[in-house]
Symmetry: C2
Subunit: 458 residues, 2 copies
Amino acid sequence: MTTLDAWIDAHRDAHLDELKALLSIPSVSTAVEHAGDVKHAAGWVRDRLAEAGLEARVYETEGHPIVYGEWLGAEGAPTVLIYGHYDVQPADPLELWRNPPFEPTIESTPTGDILVARGATDDKGQFYCHVKGIQAHMATHGALPVNVKVLIEGEEEVGSDNLEPFLREHAEMLSCDAVVVSDTPMHGKGLPSITYGLRGMAALEVTVTGPSHDLHSGLYGGGVRNPLNALAAMIGSLHDDEGRITIDGFYDDVEPLSDDERAAFVALNHDEDAFRAEVGVADSPGEAGYTVYECITSRPTLDVNGMWGGYIQPGFKTVLPSKAHAKISCRLVPHQDPDTIAKKVAAALEAAAPTGVTVEVTLHHGASAVIADRTGFAVQAAMRAQSRVWGVDCVFTRGGGSIPVVASFKNILDADTVLMGLGNEDDRLHSPNEKFGVENYFNGIKSTAYLLEELAAR
Amino acid sequence: MTTLDAWIDAHRDAHLDELKALLSIPSVSTAVEHAGDVKHAAGWVRDRLAEAGLEARVYETEGHPIVYGEWLGAEGAPTVLIYGHYDVQPADPLELWRNPPFEPTIESTPTGDILVARGATDDKGQFYCHVKGIQAHMATHGALPVNVKVLIEGEEEVGSDNLEPFLREHAEMLSCDAVVVSDTPMHGKGLPSITYGLRGMAALEVTVTGPSHDLHSGLYGGGVRNPLNALAAMIGSLHDDEGRITIDGFYDDVEPLSDDERAAFVALNHDEDAFRAEVGVADSPGEAGYTVYECITSRPTLDVNGMWGGYIQPGFKTVLPSKAHAKISCRLVPHQDPDTIAKKVAAALEAAAPTGVTVEVTLHHGASAVIADRTGFAVQAAMRAQSRVWGVDCVFTRGGGSIPVVASFKNILDADTVLMGLGNEDDRLHSPNEKFGVENYFNGIKSTAYLLEELAAR
């Protein structure tokens, strides 16, 4: 037992009380009526960063404030930037919560106590582990083993509109050797993991127009191309029977999965039966030649997220509609350029359009996939820290979603990000009864404390 | 100039005033608040039938009343049943009307005066031609050349739910040698036409279910079959590149168009450029090997009338939806059975479904196509009557829509229906500023008067 452990264990009640205080602030960033709460949360976080021993201040933005703190006394040692967010998702539907979402409650479960509240794991609980891990060093040694910068924003749940401008404006202040983010889950209960790859996204909206106005399908049907039939066929043409995307050049920049990655994936023992049971399907065909885990984390996709046109109310109206619409997005893997892919999808749709209709495509904002060098010093430090805390080997995983800020850190600060998950996959983020395991919380504090030590061993 | 013509011409003002009075009653059958107006219209029609010299009464139904009148004094002569409807479509959007829809207004146009009001052509103006044509005979000869039964319902615009039960219950009272309906347009201005074929309809709704709940497309995309992608591909598979329907057995019962029919269609000089200009398309590919006129009147179709699923609001939400829906209808040609076709479409959709989704199909009520023998005595009588009125040869046309009551007359009364259009194609039925040409009205009265004469010449 180190002095760090002793300090962390000795102050468990205070750690919990502080996190509960933070979770009691309804800092819902999307809700205008909670703007005061968001501001209050920012000030509260700044005060805790200062208590932990950092130089801390609040930066106003055009939206919600950004909290920043730093301690730069470790001359010659690496500098790590810790990122998190103090804003939370709305809590509705309120009636599904066992307790009010902003009255944090400890509940006992067969697998240990949990702290239930909106933001418990996303991301107040996880980023607060970092605050307390830093404080553990300052309280026991009066110093940190590395230079630390902490950036906690208040707009992650509404698109982080003001974060990129802030990174650009303060690039020098924020310069660092690595970024650490705890906003992803561990691979399994008690199995720590580092997410080293995330998928990107290309999104577009397509509108197919046939006749200039809705027509009676009896009087005109057969003589006019139906835009819904046309759009359906166009979308149908984008995949083959084996789940592969047929768009010309779609896979051009996709780097094949290496043998060691695939072997490591197998070692993760992803449970496909449990996956199918969770989502309620009998089959999960995916792309031929790939496991479900590979399909959902490491292969690109093309999904229709929404499609509509014609008469969609109860009953029947035999309309031959003027327009058909679809929202389509691709999840991308490293090296695929969002803009290039969006244009290829648009071109494929236009090429697949039959005569008698016109096609209009609007490209939406995309995000690049990211992949970290698994041999990087910060990644390796996080692996060692997590293995020490949990007593088992930390594993590498890839995630299927996108965390756009990771690409921003790479592009603006030229820094790789370590995604060190501290919560569990079933923490119900964005859902009622969001939770964070109490053991995960205390272990998360230790993970940060150890991480700072391991980073110093560069 | 016959005495019939003289009487009809001498009373033009009265004919117009009476039709205006009928058009002033807002007998909107779908609107609960107009139930009293619908009832009022029924009584008004009964009174006019009685004035014309028929035995007339109102039959209550579970919905709106049916008006019936008869004159059966022509012993040994054929009996004709005239069908029409006194209910009308709602008038909204009101702001697009040049005058209030239930304040009938005469307007001058370069092609003659028009009477503008809701129901002007559909169907008050057209069925009232029959009332006045009958009255012309009674007023000038004190008798009709044939036996006449008149059936005017008040629920045509809401599905005629109570008409079939009425036909079954009163089959003996309604027995006849032919039915005449004026609820279709003439082929062109001043070009009278008899519609001898109508398409039927088979309709169904399909729901494709993938995961049991909506999923995050980042965390699950690639591993779960997307029901929107699946439904799009399924629908896309129902047509080939030449506009033919690929469903097994779909065309089995379709009788090929005869050479003389196709020759007659060519003689109609259907203007495809004008058709494309009207609907606002550059191309009207249709089914390979058929003209646009053939495609929209005499060939079966499969159209998606509505399709929806996922996120369809402004902006983007990368949801992988649980369900995708489509409403699909086929226009049918004679000999295709609606139920058989609906089941074949359902089977084709199920066969085209990929793994990982389930398919649920709900069949809707269908309608048989109808085709009349062009040599029938009533059809030929109508041809002669229309040719006499307009001074040009009446032509045969087929219609692409469905008039389900025509099949009911065939099935229940064993009578063929003559569709004798009195209005024009641009009469804007169901739309704002619905109209009926004043000349069409007066000529329509003559058409009926002549038709009764011609029917007597059986």
